[in-house]
């Protein structure tokens, strides 16, 4: 237990950090966005079109042939990254032993950053038509 005790108990003094509040809010807000976006995305890719028909060429020519659609998908990507990775942060806070938690979280955020770069790159640079 830390040397810094809060009042009479053994709990550490609150740091005043609001990180966990923001995380909590971000997860709720993105979840509402995803409820629409992710479910719509899944329905479109599985029920409107046939999975087997969606080749790279098709994506380029049909789905991503409009800037607004690309922006929307990028928005979904952001929401998923924020939501999914903050969700995983929560899971790791629960189960990863404190010794290696910090390192693991850095690893997690690194993956998030990588996905952010890859996803943004393809959405932004894939030529239209």
């Amino acid at each position: 237990m830390s040397a810094q005790k809060y009042s009479l108990s053994g709990r550490p003094r609150p740091t005043g950090s609001r990180v966990d509040l923001y995380v909590w809010r971000a997860v709720r807000i993105t979840s509402i966005a995803l409820f629409v976006l992710a479910l719509a995305h899944f329905s479109i890719t599985h029920f409107v079109y046939e999975v087997g028909d969606q080749s790279a060429e098709w994506v380029r020519q049909t789905r991503w042939n409009s800037i607004p659609l690309r922006v929307l998908d990028w928005g979904m990507l952001m929401a998923v990254l924020v939501h999914g990775f903050l969700g995983m942060r929560t899971v790791m806070q629960d189960y990863v032993p404190s010794r290696i938690r910090q390192a693991s979280l850095i690893g997690l955020y690194a993956i998030a950053l990588l996905l952010f770069v890859l996803g943004t790159q393809v959405i932004a640079t894939l030529p239209m038509r």
Binding site: L39, H46, V51, V91, T125
Partner: protein
Amino acid sequence: MTQGSSPLASPQKLRNYPSYRGGEGMVAWAFHRISGIGVWAFIVLHVVDIWLIGVNPALYDQLGNIYSSAPGRVMETLLGAALFYHALNGMRIVVMDFWPALTIYHRGLWRAVWVTFFIFGLPGAYIILKPIWEMAA
């Protein structure tokens, strides 16, 4: 300050809580967590494969073939189920977060999650899986 019963207390922790008979809420949470992790794992994969559209379209198309194969479709169905359950139960949680008074109906809300899940999920699963029979035929 308190002088309590600690010093001799054994550092032993009881490990029998995996057998705790939690109620609906605990099951709902366990499913939510498992489905969340599952969907997360898929998303990691999915962003990478989308990225391939730009760098290596041929490889992407090969992957697309895997997705539309029979095992691929089963996987897609499971993914859809996980996402759908997670989304519905997620809304259940968000609703309670915004209106704490609704917690007294948490069981009812959970039942509603399952009803919705099956009403939309079964036809959905049918659509995704149908080509398997068609292929076999």
